[in-house]
Structures are given as C-alpha cells and as structure tokens.
Amino acid sequence: MSSTLKSSPRKYRAFSPARVWALATNTVTQLVRMKILFLLLLFVVIVVAAAFAFPTRSPEQQLKLLKDVVFGALQVFSIVMAISATALLLPRDVEDRTLYTILSKPVPRHEYLVGKLLGVLLLIGGGLLFMDVFFSGVLWLKQTMITAANIEALKSEQSDTPENIAAVRALIAHQGLTWNLHAGVWCVFLKAAVVASLALLMSCIATSTLFTILVSFCFTIAGQGQGLLRSFVFKSLPVTWKKICSFVLALLLPDLGLFDQVQAVIEGNSIPLATLAETTGFAAAYVVLYAGVAHLIFSEKEL
C-alpha cells in the first residue's frame, strides 16, 4: 500500500481530450437516462403520419408537404433539445453541488464547459442522424410508391411512352430523396449548435434552470426574427449605419435566419456548396464566441 504515497503526481496537462471526452459521454449518458430521447419516438410518429396524410394532393405536393412537416418537426426538436438539455445540465450541477466534486478533481473549468457542450452536440447530432436516416427511408419509400402509382396511371391512360415515364420519374425524384435533404439537416444541426452554446452562456449567467430555459427561448425567437427587425427598424438608416447596427445586433443576438436553408430543400432547390460552407463558418464563429464568453464568466464564477 506504499503506492498511496507516490511522491510524483501524474503529469498534469492543461487540456486533456480524455477528460473532455469523459465529461461529454457522461453528459450524453445523463441525458439519455433522463429519457430525453423519447422525443425521437414522437418524431417517428409525426413522420409516419405525415407520410400517409394528404393523399389527394398531386404527387409533387405530397412530397413537398411531407418534407415541410418533417423539417418543421426537426427544427423544433433540435432547438428544444439544445435549450433544455443545456439548461438542465449546468444549473443543476451547481444546484446539486456535483460541480464541487468535479472541479475538485484536476479539471480546468474550460474543459468542463467544453465537455458539457460537446455532450449536448453529440446528443443532438446523434438524434438528427437517426432522424435523417429514418426520414430518408420513409421519403424514399413514399417516392417509390408514388412513382409506381403514377406510372400505373399513365399505363391505364395508355400514354406510358418512355418520355412520359422519364418525365414523371424526374419530377418526383426532384422532390424526393436527394443529397440536399442531408444538407438541410446539417443546417438544422448548425442552428441547434448555436442555440446550445447560447443556452450554455445563459446558464453561466443564471443559476436557475427555469431562467435559463426562458431567456434562451426568448433569445432564440428574437434571433429568428432578426431579419425582420433589420428590414423594418433599420430601413430608414443610411447604409453605413445600417451595416454597423446589423453587425452589433448580430453579435448580441444570433442571426438564426442564416441557417434557414430548409425552404430551399422543401422547394426541391439545391443548396450551393459555397453557401453550406459559409453557413458552417458562421455557426462555428457563433459557437466559439458564445462558448468563449461563457468561459470568461464561468472561470470567474464563485461557486
């Protein structure tokens, strides 16, 4: 038992991926065992219901509506998960004083924050991945069924010329499963990541779960409406002022409209790769900004 008195301590590193990973996976376990993934079940029900609804519409319309409903659900779920998961974690650790035990280990405070954020992002990412795969499957099935039905219809009208069949196929495929769909889901993820880091910042300022949730929701809604705010309030301003004000506003409130590429996906238009890269960059900048400010506040916080 002389090992208890080792005189040379383990080498200490200022940033240890293993520690961050331990914190992140613990966060995921915690959220999973809180049954937050029941949301996924609800999502499955919505997708299936939407897939069989609107049978009277045109094939093109049916696919559009399905995507519309599903993307709406995706966005709501990811935002709700981002805010509630983040808000449930940090204030709760403070309230329950579990934070004392964690920070009395050789864990720098920034690692704790990064670990928590990473955990939430892993959970949202995993959830969206599951939803993406499930939705892709349903969409593909629906698309195949509609195509078959339409070709049947053409046959019964005896107008099933190769050109007609190809046209029907192309039209439906355009509204069906494409790579664009995944790009759209990626943008939903980006938005959720920004909202999660915003909620992290809020939970460093506040100590109560409820306050964090409320304020984060308000900021999210305000951030969503930022485009409107810009176009109405700043309309009369001169161009330079307009730019400055918009920039300041975008710093204070996340410009969540940036991540709304979903409409394009629903319409069946493609999202250019450049736009996707730019959006990803914006999201990363917001996450780094909010997490950075959160760290500044948290590292000075008296526990």
Partner: protein
C-alpha cells in the same frame, strides 16, 4: 526536470498551508458583503489529521473551498503540497468530500467512480481495479451496480469518500463526513479515516461530532466567526496542566476506596473528581465559540 520537482517538494514539508486568509462574499444587489473567513492561518504537516471545528456558519466549508480552488481568496493564500490552490495541478494530490455530497443519480456507484477516475487521468484496467478496490474499501461492493439515486445518506458519504480516494491523493479534505449518518455508519467512516491515516494520508476534516474528532485528530483548530480562536495538539488543548486523569477499568469498590484513602491524608494533592470519564473537547468547544447568529 523531474529531479528538480521532487526536490522542491521535499523542501516544503507542509501538506497544507493557509496564510492570512480572508474571504469576503460580495453581497448581491444591495445586500452587504459578508466576511466568512478573517485572517486565518494554519499549517498541516504530512501524515497529520487536522480537525477544523466550530459552529455552523463560522467559515469551515469556505476555508476548504479556498484550499481546493473552488473559491478565490479575497486576501491571503492557500497551498497544498507547495502548489498554490489556484493552480489546477494542485488538485492531483487532493481528494475532496463535500458537505452533503450529491452525485449524478443516474449513474451506478461503479460508474460514478469510473467517471471521477477518468477525470483524474486514470483509464483502462488500472481504473477498473482502482474503482473496485475503493468499492471494497468503503464497503459498497454489493451496492456497486445500483444507481446512486437510491443510496442512503451513509452510502452517499461512503461513495463520496471512495471518489475522493480514486486517484490516490496524499491529502483528503472531508467536510462533515459523518453528518446525518447513523452511529454505526459514522463509526465505520471513522475507522476508515484511521486506516487511511495509518497509510500515511494527511487529513483535514470538519465535524460536529466532537467525540469522534477527539478519536481521530492529531491537532485541531477551533474557529469562531471566521477566526481561529484556539489551535494546537489535541492533548495540549484539552489537558489541564496540573491535573492527572487516571482511567481505571474494572476496579472494585474496595480498590476505589483505597485510592481515595491514599489522597485523603496528603496535603498537596487531592482528588478533583472520581467518576465516569466524559468528553472534554465538547466543553472546550462550547466555552471558546460563539454561536453564529447569537450576536449582531
């Protein structure tokens, strides 16, 4: 490099050093600031069990939190084995059991230990062995795969002790380790402290159960309203200089009468009391401290 480090370690023989510590909590929004600890200084030597005692709200937990870097001192400093408590690296040598510890209730006892072990840089089979050994040591083997949410108070204290020990620290800081634990449970914790002390681990411990403190502490500091009012070796503090206590077990009535008879004739010495021994630390505690809230 490593040689140098070792040397500088052996040059500082103190396990804990708190120097002129003052902690003022800034009152939020209009409330006036509160001085929780005033000009507190004490040292703990390696291998020693140091008890901090004092009434509720006298600043014991605050002092411990400063020693762990959870709070920043307003004035003064604290260091652990020569490392300033502000430095995250100082926590490699310390294990902490907070007051009323609470853990992630969705984790089992074993998972909890593994989680904290990972935070300390342990991994693989080393971590698994260490976690099992700590479960053994604290007598939680049978509850290891149950969720912590269902643990009793005594079990929470023990899993708290196990996580504090997971990375083989040289110093353990225990805040009220026996609070709210039944007598048998607290005896068990006390025995554990004595066992670990025998292995050379240094302790800083607070408790209200003064009898138990008396059994484990080498030195105690008595705090009152944020200040150290008395400090010293336990024996020195509670022994009365010109008196000698004889504790006899199994003496018959005649034998006791004989003892009385010896002193009955002597002019210098006389028997002050003859009866069952009682805690004297408790008396001292009550004499030297002011209950927080009594004044002001």
């Amino acid at each position: 490099m490593i040689e140098e480090k070792k040397q500088s370690k052996s040059e500082s023989p103190k396990a804990v050093s708190v120097e002129n510590l003052t902690k003022i909590f800034q009152g939020a929004m209009g409330r006036k600031p509160l001085t929780a600890v005033r000009e507190l200084s004490f040292n703990v030597a390696p291998g020693e069990v140091y008890g901090l005692i004092g009434p509720n709200g006298c600043g014991k937990s605050t002092t411990m939190k400063v020693m762990l870097g959870l709070l920043k001192p307003t004035v003064g400093s604290a260091s652990v084995f020569g490392h300033d408590s502000d430095a995250v690296a100082s926590r490699h040598d310390v294990g902490f059991l907070p007051e009323n510890p609470y853990f992630y209730k969705h984790l089992t006892g074993r998972e909890t230990l593994r989680f904290f072990g990972k935070l300390c840089g342990l991994g693989g089979s080393e971590l698994r062995d260490r976690a099992d050994a700590m479960l053994d040591l604290t007598g939680l083997k049978n509850a290891a795969d149950r969720r912590v949410g269902g643990y009793s108070k005594g079990m929470l204290q023990r899993i708290g002790l196990a996580q504090a020990l997971i990375h083989e620290p040289r110093l353990l800081i225990l805040d009220e380790p026996t609070a709210g634990v039944d007598p048998a449970g607290s005896r068990r914790i006390r025995d554990l402290i004595l066992e670990l002390k025998a292995r050379g681990i240094t302790f800083v411990v607070t408790s209200h159960l003064l009898e138990q403190m008396q059994e484990v502490c080498d030195r105690v500091g008595i705090m009152s309203q944020g200040r150290m009012v008395r400090e010293g070796r336990l024996e020195d503090l509670i022994s009365v200089e010109n008196q000698t206590e004889i504790i006899i077990e199994g003496a018959s009535a005649e034998q006791l009468a004989q003892v009385r008879a010896i002193f009955a004739g002597s002019s210098g010495a006389k028997i002050m009391s003859l009866g069952k021994p009682r805690t004297t630390l408790e008396r001292l505690f009550l004499e030297t401290t002011v209950q927080t809230g009594d004044e002001e």
